[in-house]
């Protein structure tokens, strides 16, 4: 038997940056956390301690700041494309670059009857995400969302399911449906209007979730994916990962109280997890 190095790569994670754009009448800002991973000809670094092809991860961090200064960050997708191009074009032994960015979303503060020119509140634990994977032959851009928590109090059922010896769950015609949307979609082209499309896809997902008369979270997942693909021809496929955040009806009968879907116990664990990809071929 022979011991040898297989797949490998390295990079810098959690590189945080805030860019402020100072217009005359207002300031804008963009906050990202960037992750960088390079693959390439790094074998002798592993096997011989030869660092001559190892660009320090500290340099990758510096690159994030320098490139943002050289040209303003327009969108996480655009910035990740630019970073990937940089590493591939400057370092011939790098064969593949994967850039990830997670955007912390800020909302301009309502102030009297207007919006404040330079004060913002952090919108939510929700993050806008992107992953760009690039080789010298092709680049793929995925956009996405994580941590978008949504809840509906009706129009959700779960009945007629499979039963086995360990099934005790009761059928439910009218349950709470809550999830933290995690999704990523793949664009057909790298020339997409990334900013506006992201916001439109997000709203489409939310409206599909809200408007669906759900027989299961699986069915709702598919309806959400279908709504996006039907509307956005620029998207080739979308993956959704939806935890089923259970809200359990509390049994109040020991206290001689009924509970007509009014008092619930929110739970974090255990939780269902429904995952699926919807494609437009």
């Amino acid at each position: 038997m022979t011991i040898r190095l297989g797949e490998n790569g390295y990079g810098k994670q959690r590189v945080r940056i805030l860019q402020v754009i100072r217009h005359a009448d207002r300031h804008d800002l963009k906050e990202l956390t960037v992750g960088i991973r390079l693959e390439g000809d790094f074998e002798t670094a592993h096997t011989k301690g030869d660092n001559t092809k190892i660009l320090p991860t500290d340099t990758m961090k510096n690159t994030v700041y320098a490139l943002a200064k050289q040209q303003r960050i327009e969108s996480p997708e655009e910035f990740c494309l630019r970073l990937a191009d940089h590493f591939l074009s400057h370092h011939a032994h790098v064969s593949r670059a994967r850039m990830e960015a997670s955007e912390t979303l800020w909302t301009r503060l309502p102030y009297g009857k207007t919006l404040h020119p330079h004060t913002f509140t952090r919108s939510s634990e929700e993050r806008r995400t992107t992953t760009v994977t690039a080789t010298r032959k092709e680049k793929s851009v995925q956009a996405g969302i994580k941590g978008l928590v949504v809840l509906k109090t009706t129009d959700s059922a779960f009945e007629g399911f499979l039963r086995d010896a360990f099934t005790t769950l009761r059928e439910d015609r009218n349950r709470i449906l809550a999830t933290a949307i995690r999704t990523a979609w793949l664009y057909r082209s790298n020339d997409t209007a990334f900013e506006s499309t992201w916001h439109d896809v997000r709203q489409t997902l939310l409206e599909a979730f809200a408007g669906h008369d759900s027989k299961s979270l699986q069915q709702t997942l598919y309806a959400m994916g279908e709504a996006v693909l039907a509307k956005f021809k620029s998207i080739r496929e979308i993956r959704l990962s939806l935890p089923n955040k259970h809200y359990n009806l509390v049994d109040l009968s020991p206290f001689h109280l009924d509970n007509p879907k009014e008092i619930f116990l929110p739970t974090d664990e255990p939780h269902g997890l429904i995952e699926g990809t919807v494609r437009n071929d």
Copy 2:
């Protein structure tokens, strides 16, 4: 020397509840995490293992659900007052009840040109908080906020400070000011309009933060407290705890790039922490 029991108390923490109110045309909801702590005559439980005066913490949890069903939760403050009353009136050996609630805030989903009747998104990591402390003689109600993250890109300076042998900080005429507001204010009366006042105090704090031309976070803290007390006579005092979430200007000079307050490194640690109480006597 004599060993003896000093201050003590016990209760249930992280009791989660969601209440759904099903109107004909829309649903409302209220999600709280409740903490209960009782003080009283519990000495023999500690010293002799005598449980006859120990109400199980499991019962406290049940009480949250039963009381919410008996009468709808109007506000965290109202519900905590009601819970405190319950424990004090049913259990003569309880001398003091402290109830805490943290509200998870939900926002009705924009849906087409209207708002959706039964779908909500979770607004933020921000929580609305309350603490009610009650004895048989008096009750105090505090309302508050935690995790309200806010940032301004200008109108903040820090100059003319004290220097000693270990001071290396440079003066800054125009820095980013960012914090996660944590605050609690004490009402003069338990008959306050808790719901509307909370929203108004929150907006007053945000506008004071935004509108202040800050010479230090201490000065901004005082301005925020003063703005609240000047406007709300129903509030006796307000305490603010403001971490100074530093955004450090990145030095781009090694790359022959200037950085006129454009590229910043957001940091979590270390952070300043400015705390103060403002009173209206």
Copy 3:
């Protein structure tokens, strides 16, 4: 009515430091996270934006590093005492200094039949804590522990408790008892052997928890505090805060299986919280 500043203070939090001591035959290390808070004459900073008495929190951070270099950190308690002295002796307008430190515990790696001279593993999420509060007249030193998770599978009961209309809990003669010990004890003198005492108190607490035939967590708390005070005359009082981390017996009867205290569901919420101080007067 007059609006005025009440209690206030400020400082730096989450100042992290690792000190390496390079002996000829082995290395030692000490990792602390330090929090600093000063009180004093800071009123005009709040009310007038006058920073002439405000030592930057950045300077406090620098002070941690400089003092550690000037004289090696012996224990968190010793180092916090030294920091407090520094701020009080160099800044006449500071009236009170509170220093907190949380030690990340490292264990020397077992290596073959010996211990490795310079490699360590992080022991646990447990932290050794200290709080030093000092004025020019007096200093108090508290040592403590947080996050020490402990579980016993028997010798714990909860019976004969108080019942009211909302009590559904069953008596239990033989339950699992689990908690995450959080404790702080106050020394009579600042000349204590802090290092050895901390380790001895920790072991005393653990053995008291293990050896106690518990009728309630309250009784166990008191037994733990009593064991420490009976053994360590240098300790004036000890405070314990013990979450009751419930392990619920799973009902397997729907599957025609009994469950004689064998299969449990570990839970994080809700949880009981038992708190008490034991004193030696």
Copy 4:
């Protein structure tokens, strides 16, 4: 274009279980958090709301408890194999089952000169992990570790690396090397002695980390993988994911103090991330 369902699967996550084994002279315990994911013929659930092939995730949770009772959990690997067998053998439309388990490690409490028969402390944030992937044709068992934090104070350098326009890092002949080991290795057979092998692999990794004179974390990663594969013929490949947790030397020159590798600033972000697979063909 046609919209259609692609890869999909669902299951239950964060199913927590504690099993107590009550011997006459001592108790043992095993605490796992289990994740279950099934793939199979679920298309009509997504596209038509037909739940007849959907086993509730609640049933999966029940299955964990029932199977643990029917036969004691020997190891996370054995238990996941058993769970996968259960779902594949009882449900013909399930084509693939992936079981994950994360073990919370408990250590028997030292008590006087012996070990306590029924009291345990939680060892660490480290988790023992396993992933079993099974179809009707084949099963693969991976074992692993996450969160094993390790640090060495010398025998680590990083020199002679690649430089580009954004490189500012200085060469370092003697740095601190710290990481949180995350690893998973693939067994050749499902008949391995899972318990003893896991402990031996863990110690081999730690000793390889400690004993290596490191020119880079890449080289250390390879040395760790090589040490495991050289010793354990039962392992086909091992993947390591090693964050480079930077400890930065603090510049004390402004305070006229030197810092000969003694005072460091521990940081969490940004961090390097070195990943690689080592194979034995």
